[in-house]
């Protein structure tokens, strides 16, 4: 029984820590649903009537969708290019590992790849 109680307290503390870290984010998320008056209220208002005005405002802004599009474009391009380039390099490192021990940083990648490739697929493939 005592063990149970201790375990419950332990889990409660962990949950509190997680919530503590989430608090500022939650505060900003809540701020998105406040009116300007509620946001700038002195002293700080804890209870408020939620509104979607800020979101409507955001969508009506002329540059919102173009910015969003730019973000998507940049992240998509970054992922595609990085994947293509890194895939080739990673293939080289994983298929031609002889004379090269992966966990240790070595500054010349070529030492692994100077061996003549016999044209066969690697044993693990």
């Amino acid at each position: 029984m005592r063990r149970e109680v201790r375990r419950t307290i332990y889990h409660l503390v962990l949950w509190l820590i997680a919530l503590l870290f989430f608090m500022p984010v939650l505060w900003i998320v809540l701020a998105a649903f406040k009116t300007k008056g509620d946001l700038l209220a002195v002293p700080v208002k804890w209870a408020f009537v939620p509104t979607l005005d800020n979101f409507a405002d955001l969508v009506r802004r002329h540059d919102f969708f173009s910015s969003l599009e730019n973000s998507f474009l940049i992240s998509a391009a970054a992922v595609v290019v990085a994947l293509a380039v890194a895939f080739l390099a990673a293939y080289c490192f994983s298929c031609f590992p002889s004379g090269w021990s992966p966990p240790r940083p070595r500054w010349s990648p070529s030492s692994s790849c100077t061996r003549r490739w016999d044209g066969r697929t690697p044993s693990w493939a």
């Binding site: 790849c113 490739w117 044209g119």
Partner: protein, 326 residues
């Protein structure tokens, strides 16, 4: 045209344009297919990227650091040799910025590591906790936010008139603190945001490190009734320390080049209380347009960062050799 596997044997027929094209293709196929340079060819895209985006700008910056070059005056660059470096060395503001950066790095990395390890251990033992995944997700949210956005919304939270942090402090302790406007509190407040943002990263690293400890060894330690401290030093640490060290290294480098977070929070103020090297660099380069001088500062910063990294790698390799992994 026929290609046999293993060795490219490509028959090229006829003279003229088609023949030449075929010969070229044969050459290309021989190269790509079973050339001894095939592995190196796989590395070419990465190296091209690396050269274009890293090496060329690096040397460009290095070259520019020897010139007096301002984009707004319109005068051609003037060669100074080490003039910019001498100026850096004599400039008290640079030393102040460097010392503030070191304070920031030390404060951030030490607190994040200690907190991260502590909370990582706590969360490691909580496999039966109800809603553990949700709790961890909430815990990791600060890490995935953009530093610029974090800075902006923490400026709202710290805002002395309507911000929630001064309000809470007033409720709890009865003190009125202007977090970002007070010289005594500005650095601490900025550090607090960085710690809030990156402690989850260290928790994640700690969890990964603890996950790499073999279960069998842990169970053996438990069966043998090894005391807590010994279990820590003999079983967990030898396995976990590489990953933890890697986390510390990444955090050090990241904290050293902090810019946008502080820029959004205080713009280096009040006065120059929170003006770290990254911020100084940004201001001189993109607000003052003094390219030569800021290149020199960038080179110095880079050298310091390299020094940091080498020390960590040295320690990492040392402990690895001790363990006999190498």
């Amino acid at each position: 045209m026929s290609v046999t596997p293993g060795e490219s044997r490509i028959e090229v027929k006829g003279p003229g344009r088609a023949g030449r094209l075929n010969r070229l293709r044969a050459l290309r196929l021989r190269w790509v297919d079973n050339s001894r340079y095939f592995p190196q060819m796989l590395l070419v895209p990465v190296l091209v990227f690396f050269v274009i985006w890293n090496i060329v700008p690096l040397f460009w910056m290095l070259g520019m650091s020897f010139y007096r070059y301002s984009i707004i005056t319109g005068t051609p660059p003037r060669f100074l040799l080490f003039g910019n470096y001498a100026d850096l060395f004599a400039n008290i503001a640079v030393w102040l910025a460097l010392s503030k950066t070191f304070i920031f790095v030390l404060g951030a990395v030490v607190s994040e590591t200690v907190l991260g390890l502590l909370l990582g251990f706590l969360f490691w033992g909580s496999t039966t906790m109800p809603g553990r995944r949700l709790a961890l997700t909430l815990l990791f949210t600060p890490m995935i936010l953009t530093p610029a956005a974090t800075g902006t919304f923490f400026r709202l939270i710290y805002e002395p008139t309507f911000g929630v942090a001064p309000h809470l402090v007033h409720l709890l302790f009865g003190a009125n603190i202007n977090f970002l406007g007070d010289k005594a509190w500005a650095m601490f407040s900025v550090l607090l945001v960085d710690i809030w943002m990156w402690t989850p990263f260290m928790i994640l690293i700690t969890l990964a490190a603890l996950g790499s400890v073999p279960r069998a060894e842990l169970e053996a330690a438990e069966v043998d009734g090894l005391p807590w401290l010994k279990r820590m030093t003999h079983v967990i640490l030898p396995h976990a320390k590489f990953i933890v060290m890697l986390g510390i290294l990444l955090r050090t480098i990241d904290a050293f080049k902090v810019m946008e977070l502080i820029y959004q929070l205080t713009r280096g103020g009040p006065g120059s209380t929170t003006e770290v090297v990254g911020l100084m660099l940004f201001r001189r380069a993109f607000e003052g347009f003094d390219m030569g001088w800021s290149s020199a500062l960038a080179v110095v910063t880079l050298l310091i960062a390299i020094a940091f990294t080498s020390v960590y790698l040295f320690i990492l390799n040392l402990s690895r050799e001790e363990k006999g992994v190498a």
